[in-house]
């Protein structure tokens, strides 16, 4: 096998311009985790099913294990590390997941939160069924989803400035 020619990529990640040299076959998730050392997004499968690697790319939720780093050339990407406000104030979803006990091992959480983030932008007032459908590309093995749904409802209420009463038991 001959040596693989590396390619130069540039993209915006969490508001900062980043660049790197990658093989054409380098997956975006590996570039994010291993070159940029943003290890919040995880890998949970080989088949694009689990959503642990979900990033927000140019206004869409993308499973970053299904994309090469070079395909993200020029893209604008948000990872879990870039979701809180610059002053450190947590995003309503980050708060909601904690308040509603929407996570256990935490492995699915960054992907789940980023997916919910895009969901709430597209649909600020989702019904429970819409939330469940909206996160069905993200698997969680620990929580049984019920408290994730509540966490997203909590965040939606907070972002909309309405009241959310129900608390996790």
């Amino acid at each position: 096998m001959s040596k693989i020619q590396k390619m130069h990529v540039t993209m915006t990640v969490n508001g900062e311009t980043v660049e790197g040299l990658v093989e054409p076959r380098t997956l975006l998730i590996h570039f994010i985790r291993e070159h940029l050392l943003l290890t919040g997004a995880h890998i949970g499968c080989d088949t694009g099913h689990c959503g642990a690697c979900t990033l927000d790319i140019d206004g869409k939720s993308v499973k970053s294990c299904t994309m090469f780093a070079v395909q993200a050339e020029g893209s604008s990407i948000v990872t879990i590390e870039g979701l809180a406000a610059p002053d450190g104030t947590l995003h309503a979803l980050q708060e909601g997941f904690r308040m509603m006990h929407g996570l256990q091992c935490g492995y699915c959480t960054p992907g789940m939160i980023l997916r919910a983030h895009r969901l709430l932008i597209e649909n600020p007032n989702p019904t429970e069924a819409e939330i469940r459908f909206g996160i069905s590309g993200n698997l969680c093995r620990c929580t049984g989803y019920q408290n994730i749904v509540r966490a997203i409802q909590y965040a939606a209420a907070k972002l909309n400035g309405t009241q959310f009463q129900e608390a996790a038991e």
């Binding site: 290890t39 919040g40 995880h42 980050q94 996570l103 492995y107 969680c140 989803y145 608390a167």
Partner: protein
Amino acid sequence: MNDLTPTKEQREARLEGMGCKRKRVEDIRFTQGKGNYVDDIKLPGMLFGDFVRSTYAHARIKRIDTSKAKALPGVRAVLTADDLKPLNLHYMPTLAGDVAAVLADEKVLFQNQEVAFVVADDRYIAADAIELVEVEYEELEPLTNPFKAMDADAPLLREDIKGKMEGAHGPRKHYNHIFNWQVGDREAADDIFASAPVKTKDTYWYHRTHPSPLETCQSLASYDKVTGHLTIYGTFQAPHVVRTVVSMLSGIPESKVHVIAPDIGGGFGNKVGVYPGYVCSIVASIVLGKPVKWVEDRMENLSTTSFARDYHMTTELASTQDGKILGMRCYVLADHGAFDACADPTKWPAGFMNICTGSYGIPVAHLEVDGVYTNKASGGVAYRCSFRVTEAVYAIERAVEVLAQKLGMDSADLRLKNFIRREQFPYKSALGWEYDSGDYHLAMNKAMEAVGYRQLRAEQAEKRAAFQRGETREVMGIGVSFFTEIVGAGPSKNCDILGVGMFDSCEIRIHPTGSAIARMGTKSQGQGHETTYAQIVATELGIPADQIQVEEGNTDTAPYGLGTYGSRSTPVAGAAIAMASRKIRAKMQMIAAHLLEVHHNDLDWDIDGYQVKGLPEKRIGVKEIAWAAYHQPIPNLEPGLEAVNYYDPPNMTYPFGAYFCVMDIDVDTGAAKVRRFYALDDCGTRINPMIIEGQVHGGLTEAFAVAMGQEIRYDAAGNVMGASFMDFFVPTAVETPHWETDFTVTPSPHHPIGAKGVGESPHVGGVPCFSNAVNDALSFCGSVHIDMPHDAWRIWEAAEKLGLHKAA
């Protein structure tokens, strides 16, 4: 006292101790992407290892040619069994007293078995190199049917132990036989069955499945050739056990082996054992003097590291005409795959399968288990259960339903009639356990009332009539299950892992300014130990939980512990926390007595300090006591404030619960819809109700998965079918039902805080509840038992066999 003096309630609330729905400490890092999992760790000069795996289920290895792989730039080493043999590392001991191949030695025994380990500069080069390793196989006849394993002409699987007819658990009957295990009184049971008026006998197959945590198994070994220190990061549910095993295998003194289990992305029993990947990353690091990481992919996870279940359970009940159960017999054929690598306490070849008399006062019983080898991956781990308890509970809870059907009796009534009564505890079961406490009637009645059980049965009768009249194609099933778990392994007199007693430990150190650190021998994989353990300390020592740091998963700093699985953390480590705290409190009492100038017997503990009996205003808080412990000489006391406790539990704990499921099934599509699921759990004292509820949701969801579709299947040639998330059923938020939770509280009488453990109960009780619902739905059409998993296809198939699709 004035208006600003906090009330008792305020002081208590400030602690966020036991019983409080404290928000989790872990979430702060996890929600910000700051968790620290094994694959997040990157050490300088780190290499990456990956496996060449067998394409066959059973074959002789004729030749392995690694030369092309080794010639690839960036490849540092390719290891085969021949490289490990001189180190005596080509086999490793399993927790069950067998050995398992690290790299296949002359033969492969299951598909995807590890054949060679490639080490390269990065994971892409390693993947390239795997393609370049040439392995020549000679195919052998595969053995996939456990019922044929002990045939006279069955293919011989384990050549390495061919002549060794004395196994770890007694004599072997056949070269593919592993053990025969019997509990109870066979003769007495046979006598009962000879004369009982009503008898049932059915074989239930609890199919093979997999714990599949979202993070796979992984390790990173780093050997320092200069100092001789070996550091291993890994997905280890039991880090200290890993350290001991590594030291025994490598000859490196245990003091120079440092095992770190960082954050773990779910375990569910998958991360208890020791796997070839761990061993190979360690060996490669020792050989190369560089850090070597191994990360399993999902396919490898599902097809190699530790399946669960695969028990064929022939279960018999004998009863009177009016439903008093007289006896039980159970015979299990256990398919262990290529090696006996189940993760049970070493003396228990079938785990705690002898809890199979369940929640009932069955006077006479006999259990027999035969374990056999087949050409499948090894394992038999406790997937979200205490050692084979889900199997046991499934057997008895199906059998009770079948008996009720035969008697024409309501199955809830049959249970109520046979429950162990409250006044019978501590109750000695026919198969040797001593149940600590319970009030089964209270729990069952509360649950039946909550779901409106009698009304549901009435509705079901109407729907059945409508179905028979041809007005609907939907049938309704009511799933009932009542389980008794056995957790908290366990007393070292009968539980050990490779000879190490199954105690657990806690070391607590109070700092001069009154905050504290607790170091533990267990390891959370999402259960929230950092949160709940601190709550126990908070209540015991009067220090606010947010000032208590909990540290786990570091063998250099933590006292020796046996780890987290089998719901043992709260029953065993939780007790160690209470006991260590009480040692500290005893010392605090002496210090307080000195400071208040009274006799220590004249002091009462009061939430967060000591007060003089009858003089509530004469008190001293924990903070002042801690300060004094470090800053003031106290006569006859050493300075400092810390304690360690190794807790060897006197007995197991026995959580229990009553679950109900209402399901509607379309007989034409086989689609099953869970209309309602209600779970009442009694786990004794409740430390954090929010976390308990989360555990119940998660366990039920995994139960739903297993009962309704999750399976690791093999074809006749031994090909593993569907070992990816494409085929292996992991429910999404859409198909996962809504969960209703409830509880009763029966504290464990022998546990310092009365807690019993809960993480696994919902799985143990949930699986039979779903299966009973499906079976109940079709019982009125003459069906007695349908095996899991109950996916739409199999339900449709069952309906077809019952003739429900015939044109009217």
